[in-house]
């Protein structure tokens, strides 16, 4: 009973936050709503005994990705009136995606996974099941190849981003810190006999 109550709370709040992301005028508010939405999704993971995934969702998405997202948004100049002008041109594409999603949701909900009895039979994991360990074991054995490929892709993206944005400016001035630290008094001060 308590679990259902919490599920409804988290699910309801995440839908509310999702609506907030789309509907709020202020982009900063939209980002805050998105963060709130992630929190509720993490709550849903906790209810499913997937505490590792929940924490990782907060750690990676809220703690790292959204911060950089916010940086980008703070730097953007958002011209609302200009955006309004071209608003309708996105309607066909957006509408199509909405319809496809709707069909998918209806199809998924009629498969019987979400019927009243099926929910009750979903067992909880035992207290001593360590889900960090389980995920680690399966990632590094069964799905090792996929995991490594994902890691390589991320590394390539990282190097690529640096290569694309680095500008080796000739006129930039740098300080050589080891040189600064290694300076001795004799290099700077000279005793002159008068």
């Amino acid at each position: 009973m308590l679990e259902t109550a919490f599920f409804n709370l988290f699910a309801g709040l995440s839908i509310f936050a999702g609506l907030g992301v789309v509907l709020s005028r202020n982009t900063m508010h939209a980002v805050m709503f998105l963060i709130f939405c992630f929190f509720n999704a993490a709550g849903l993971f906790f209810l499913l005994d997937a505490e590792f995934l929940g924490i990782i969702l907060i750690l990676i998405y809220v703690g790292a990705v959204m911060v950089l997202f916010m940086f980008a948004i703070m730097m953007l100049e958002v011209n609302v009136s200009k955006m309004r002008d071209n608003f309708l041109q996105y309607l066909p594409l957006g509408g199509m995606i909405a319809v496809i999603l709707m069909i998918e949701f209806v199809a998924a909900s009629t498969t019987g996974v979400f019927t009243e009895g099926a929910k009750a039979t979903a067992e909880h994991l035992a207290m001593d099941v360590n889900n960090t360990k389980e995920i680690g074991q399966i990632l590094y054995t069964k799905y090792l190849l996929g995991f490594e490929i994902a890691a390589i892709i991320l590394l390539v993206a990282l190097v690529g981003a640096i290569v694309l944005t680095i500008r080796g400016r000739k006129d930039a001035k740098y300080q050589n810190i080891s040189k600064q630290v290694n300076v001795r008094r004799e290099d700077r001060v000279r005793k002159v006999s008068m």
């Binding site: 924490i55 911060v67 703070m74």
Partner: protein, 353 residues
């Protein structure tokens, strides 16, 4: 579970939360007092000694002053986020304490097995602490942005860069602890260090202890790293804040300082164990709080000793020194664990083999 049971459980939870939150608020107030006294002592002057005996009522007087001050909200500020920002930075600082084990007790022999003194003994406690403390960035970012003024936004961007940079080396430092302890549960990590000072992780992970503690300094914006929020540099992200909302930011800062000290003692300094097993007759909580108090003293000592970093020096320390160090140490620890000749050395600290 009947309604009465649930009410009792709720009451117990509320008491547990109060039993941790109230001492934290009090100790934050008195850390400011001790900070002033200790810095005074280091600089051969008195420090605050006027209000009450030996100045002991000074924190209360300061608190009263801050409450009575007017809270000014700039006219063009985003009001909701301006008020929300201090709360956003205070909340993670307090919520992180939920998983900290303050010791273990059998309640004078009433319980048969010792229980961990924590609000929640999470299996992913270490990750939880990392996740929650990474949220404090939002308070800073929001404060800068919502003030709608150029100095706060510059300050907040600089502070955010600093916090993100040092979080990475902090996280990698924790990975080495996980590798030795084989667990993310904070109380299991302490149990893995049982048996005297030689078993503490500060011996095999000494460089990580240094990296973690200095990164903690940078995370909380304490002195060698307070270049983004000092008075001379227009106070960084909280330029526009006054009165109680300003105090909330410093409450969060001191709370985070206590948290870092607690975590360092738990992860590297043996938590609630005494340096010599014979001394374990003194309750573990005393040891843990003693170690924490010493580390808080070290924070204050840093403040009185070191000059401030320049921005580029701070970035260099985080990215070019700490990050390679921590990555290198992960490699070294991994190598010791899995190389047949070397694993005899590390087996002494390895809890899971």
């Amino acid at each position: 579970m009947s309604g009465l049971d649930m009410a009792i459980q709720g009451g117990i939870w509320a008491l547990e939360i109060l039993a941790i939150a109230v001492p934290i608020a009090l100790s934050v107030a008195y850390i400011t007092y001790f900070e002033r006294r200790i810095i005074g002592w280091i600089q051969v002057r008195k420090g605050c000694n006027r209000v009450g005996p030996a100045g002991l009522l000074q924190p209360l007087a300061d608190g009263l002053k801050l409450v009575l001050k007017e809270t000014i909200i700039p006219a063009r500020a985003n009001k909701m986020l301006f008020i929300g920002a201090p709360l956003l930075s205070l909340m993670p600082a307090l919520v992180a304490f939920a998983v900290v084990p303050f010791g273990e007790t059998s309640l004078f022999g009433v319980w048969e097995t010792p229980h961990i003194m924590a609000i929640s003994n999470l299996n992913v406690g270490l990750l939880y602490v990392m996740a929650i403390s990474s949220l404090s960035v939002y308070g800073v970012l929001m404060a800068g942005w919502a003030s709608n003024s150029k100095y706060p936004i510059m300050g907040s961007i600089r502070s955010t860069c600093q916090m993100i940079s040092y979080e990475i080396s902090m996280g990698f430092g924790l990975v080495t602890v996980m590798m030795l302890a084989g667990s993310l549960n904070l109380s299991d990590i302490v149990h893995a260090q049982a048996g005297g000072i030689l078993h503490w992780y500060m011996i095999p992970l000494f460089p990580m202890l240094i990296v973690f503690f200095i990164s903690g300094c940078a995370e909380t914006g304490r002195t060698p790293f307070d270049l983004t929020e000092t008075e001379e540099l227009v106070s960084g992200y909280y330029t526009e804040y006054s009165g109680m909302w300003f105090a909330t930011f410093s409450l969060a800062e001191y709370g985070a300082m206590i948290m870092i000290s607690l975590l360092t003692s738990i992860l590297f300094l043996g938590g609630w164990y005494a340096p010599i097993p014979a001394l374990d007759i003194i309750p573990g909580t005393v040891w843990l709080l003693g170690k924490t108090a010493f580390l808080i003293f070290v924070f204050i000592w840093f403040r009185a000793t070191f000059p401030r970093y320049r921005y580029d020096q701070m970035m260099r320390l985080g990215w070019k020194i700490f990050l390679p160090w921590t990555l290198g140490w992960i490699f070294v620890v991994g190598m010791f664990i899995y190389t047949p000749g070397l694993d005899g050395i590390i087996d002494f600290w390895l809890a899971w083999r």
